[in-house]
């Protein structure tokens, strides 16, 4: 366990270092100039330009700036200052990460409840339910989250007036109220994937020889399903649920924009457009870290679900 944790921690550090370097360099190569953001496109006098360029270290070569950023991050836990908002990146992220985490958590719960739940039911029972679930998931799989956002807004917010259209609310009840539509929009297409994978996996397990043997030996259906089908199906289902939920962190950008939520996804898009280096860097690293940690959790879960899997080794 300690070795597993150590190995994963090392992996996290390497992933963060490599991605921070790649992001910094590629942002530098992309067209555009942070100074234009700073001046809002206003023509600045050469003196004013010099002052601003110097203040934000834009006059240094890219590697030097990266080094400056890296040492700041490592030695002073300082992720830099946003050019656009003149605010430390860490506090920018701090203000936003809560909303994104809540949104992803909410969408994740929806995916597990409805995606895995309906997938299991559809897998176990052929017929009307199965066909309905397949039909619905086909439609949802084809709907990108920004379209889902617009449809949900138009219907439940503007037309029916049930749920708010903007903002993230405060307090538990209000947060749930504000995040319901965004969470559905975010979960919709991922839901379809999870439903289908779950259903197919359950079907495949049902067709396995040991399941048929168990059934023919007269073991009650409930037990067969629990011990032989679900147990074996749980590994691929965990894999797909894990990957889907981590990917929601990145996908949340679109939904956050549509519902005007103050999350890190929306901030990342904004920062990338205005070449706000430090913010892009900071948020990307949070996303990378979330991905690595979520993967570690999924690996731990494998060992819990299947004792044959040693901690840290990849499940089949």
């Amino acid at each position: 366990m300690v070795r597993f944790a150590g190995r994963r921690a090392l992996m996290l550090v390497v992933a963060l270092l490599v991605s921070s370097f790649v992001i910094f360099i590629s942002l530098d190569l992309a067209p555009g100039n942070p100074l234009a953001t700073l001046s809002g496109g206003r023509t600045l006098s050469p003196a004013a330009q010099r002052v601003l360029t110097h203040e934000y270290h834009l006059d240094q070569p890219v590697l030097e700036r990266y080094w400056h950023w890296l040492t700041g991050a490592l030695l002073h836990a300082n992720l830099g200052t946003s050019i656009e908002y003149r605010e430390p990146v860490s506090s920018l992220i701090g203000q936003r990460i809560g909303v994104t985490a809540e949104l992803v958590l909410y969408a994740g719960i929806l995916i597990v409840l409805f995606g895995v739940g309906l997938g299991l039911l559809a897998g176990l029972r052929r017929g009307f339910l199965d066909n309905t679930v397949i039909a619905i998931s086909t439609v949802l799989a084809a709907v990108p989250s920004f379209v889902a956002a617009i449809v949900l807004l138009a219907l439940f917010s503007v037309k029916l007036g049930w749920l708010p259209s903007l903002g993230d609310g405060s307090g538990f009840a209000s947060t749930i109220e504000h995040l319901t539509l965004p969470a559905i929009a975010l979960a919709a297409s991922a839901f379809a994937v999870v439903v289908r994978v779950t259903r197919v996996t359950v079907r495949a397990e049902l067709a396995q020889e040991h399941v048929q043997t168990a059934t023919s030996r007269g073991i009650p259906w409930r037990l067969v399903v629990r011990r032989h089908v679900l147990r074996n199906a749980s590994i691929p289902i965990t894999t797909v649920v894990g990957i889907t939920i981590t990917s929601l962190f990145a996908l949340s950008a679109v939904v956050e924009q549509a519902f005007n939520l103050n999350g890190i996804g929306a901030a990342l898009v904004q920062a990338a457009l205005s070449k706000d280096f430090a913010v892009v860097q900071g948020i990307s690293l949070v996303l990378v870290a979330a991905f690595v940690i979520a993967n570690a959790l999924v690996d731990l879960l494998y060992a819990v679900l299947d004792p044959r899997v040693a901690i840290g080794s990849r499940a089949a």
Partner: protein, 549 residues
């Protein structure tokens, strides 16, 4: 002298929302029946809205096209910052809803043409209770005038020799040459007074989310979540008893795309906005819970000519291109008809003084009409048939894409070859800041405006050598002289006559090509009333005029 820069949301939802996507098709002649004829300049447009009768106790959410980025007035230059600074701060002179300028924190007099004396009002205090003193005024003005403070306004002080507090309540500005534009500038962002001790203490943090600001205005900052919202509460000790705020809490939110703004209004999540243009206008107008009105504006849409060495270097080609642009269709497509046909690069809403002089001049200028035959003749005379132009734009911002398409159609219709070079919304602003981004681009569309109601405020940026937006080094001695003379002329009507003369010449020489002059759109919840419907929200008090119906 600014422009709307970029909307980030446009970039991400451009693909998603047909209404925010690239330029719409121009309407047919039949659809144009209701388009503005441009005959009466400001007829029927009034900055007045129904005055409020009581306090409005619920928070008012006011939308801006993007979130506020700074509270430092010397770095405010775009819609969100200006609309917020005008609620927090007072300037030395005050812009009124009709564009006229009156006393603000001070009265201004010119004892001689090269001396501007500011007599401070007694009574105004900053939010922390300290009185507004001459030292604060000198500090604020010097800060705005300094090219190294990060100020965007140092150029407007280029005739200022010294700024001195001659008594605890008098500040004297000595000029190297007469400058009657300075009074207008002092009614806008460069004239805003901040507390010296506070700004010095905050240093580099001043104006940022950590440092905030210290002003004397009707509202003060309560909470700022950068990138999302800025919450203000009414200043209970506001010095001006005639303009006490009636809305207790004001929340500015950056909401970029038309769809979000529209659903926000329809669900009651937004109570007010001064949209630049909105594709969902009919939907908002049909909503019984909203008030939609139009008033005078300072803004114009125009085509910036940034290269005089290419095809557009010949004035006949510029005139031909201007003559071929279907402005009525453009006005219908962008503003549902709520814009005026520009006879020069100005919006009649920007006549803050000398109105009768400007009106008489406007009436003499021809209404722009499409005349392809004449345009083709001009192209032949210029020998420009088959020559090509490149128009820079961004397909992510609907109005700019529509402008560019309309110019391209015009160019093709008179026998020019025209290509559109579309960049991302974020890179579009580089056309204004970087000569390398303008390379190979002959022209690009913009929405531009003077900071206070004077057409000269825009002309001097584009038509005088060294002007901040004169990208092609356009120079015409007659225009330059008329504007320089205007700047030195005390009498408002005489000054207006000189500015109008420059406007006439600009309409002939076309350093930029005017496209349209939009009216100021104001959308509020029905229960909220009194916000002035004019460009004043960019320079003078407005939020403290609102209240409940």
């Amino acid at each position: 002298m600014k422009r709307r820069t970029l909307t980030t949301l446009a970039a991400i939802t451009a693909a998603a929302l047909p209404l925010a996507a690239c330029g719409r098709d121009l309407p047919t002649a039949a659809q144009l029946a209701g388009a503005s004829s441009g005959a009466a300049a400001t007829a029927g447009l009034s900055p007045e809205t129904t005055p409020p009768t009581r306090n409005y106790n619920k928070p008012v959410v006011w939308a801006t096209y993007r979130p506020v980025e700074t509270l430092d007035p010397v770095q405010a230059f775009d819609y969100p910052e200006n609309s917020v600074d005008t609620t927090l701060c007072d300037a030395l002179q005050r812009q009124l809803p009709d564009g006229s300028i009156g006393p603000g924190l001070a009265t201004a007099t010119y004892p001689t043409p090269t001396k501007l004396v500011l007599n401070l009002r007694s009574g105004p205090t900053f939010w922390d209770g300290h009185p507004v003193t001459a030292a604060d005024v000198v500090y604020s003005l010097k800060r705005a005038a300094s090219p190294t403070s990060g100020s965007f306004y140092s150029l407007v002080f280029n005739r200022v020799k010294s700024i001195v507090a001659t008594s605890p309540s008098v500040v004297t500005i000595t000029l190297s040459k007469p400058d009657f534009w300075l009074q207008g500038e002092l009614s806008s962002m460069p004239g805003i007074v901040v507390e010296k001790a506070y700004a010095e203490r905050e240093g580099k943090k001043f104006g940022t989310p950590q440092g905030l600001t210290m002003c004397s205005g009707p509202y003060e900052v309560k909470k700022w979540i950068p990138g999302t919202s800025l919450t203000e509460v009414a200043n209970p000790h506001y010095w001006d008893s005639t303009l006490q705020p009636k809305v207790h809490e004001l929340i500015f939110k950056g909401i970029g795309d038309d769809a979000s703004v529209t659903s926000g209004f329809e669900t009651g999540a937004i109570q007010g906005d001064y949209p630049l243009n909105i594709s969902t206008l009919p939907q908002l107008q049909a909503d019984k819970n909203l008030t939609v009105s139009f008033g005078p504006s300072n803004a114009v849409d125009a085509l910036v000519i940034d290269n005089l060495k290419g095809t557009l270097g010949n004035v006949k080609v510029r005139q031909a291109l201007s003559m071929a642009i279907n402005r009525e269709a453009l006005i219908q497509a962008l503003y549902h008809g709520h814009a005026q046909l520009p006879r020069t690069i100005e919006n009649p809403g920007a006549w803050g003084y000398g109105q009768s002089v400007f009106q008489a001049d406007w009436d003499r200028l021809p209404v722009p009409t499409v005349n392809i035959a004449k345009a083709k003749r001009l192209i032949r005379q210029a020998g420009a048939e088959g020559q090509s132009i490149t128009i820079g734009t961004t397909s992510s911002i609907n109005s700019l894409a529509t402008d560019a398409n309309s110019v391209r159609q015009a160019a093709v219709s008179i026998g020019l070859k025209a290509t559109i070079d579309s960049v991302s919304a974020a890179n579009y602003i580089n056309f204004f800041t970087s000569a390398s981004a303008r390379k190979g681009i002959d022209a690009f569309p913009t929405t531009n405006y003077p900071d206070y109601a004077d057409p000269a405020g825009l002309y001097n940026t584009l038509a005088i050598p060294g002007g901040s937006q004169n990208y092609d080094d356009f120079s015409d001695p007659a225009i330059t002289n008329a504007l320089e003379d205007a700047r030195s002329t005390a009498n408002p009507d005489q000054r207006a006559a000189l500015v109008a003369k420059a406007g006439d010449l600009i309409a002939q020489q076309l350093p930029w090509i005017p496209l349209d002059a939009p009216n100021q759109l104001l959308v509020t919840a029905k229960q909220l009333t009194g916000a002035p419907d004019s460009f004043v929200y960019m320079g003078g008090p407005w939020a403290n005029m609102m209240g409940g119906r």
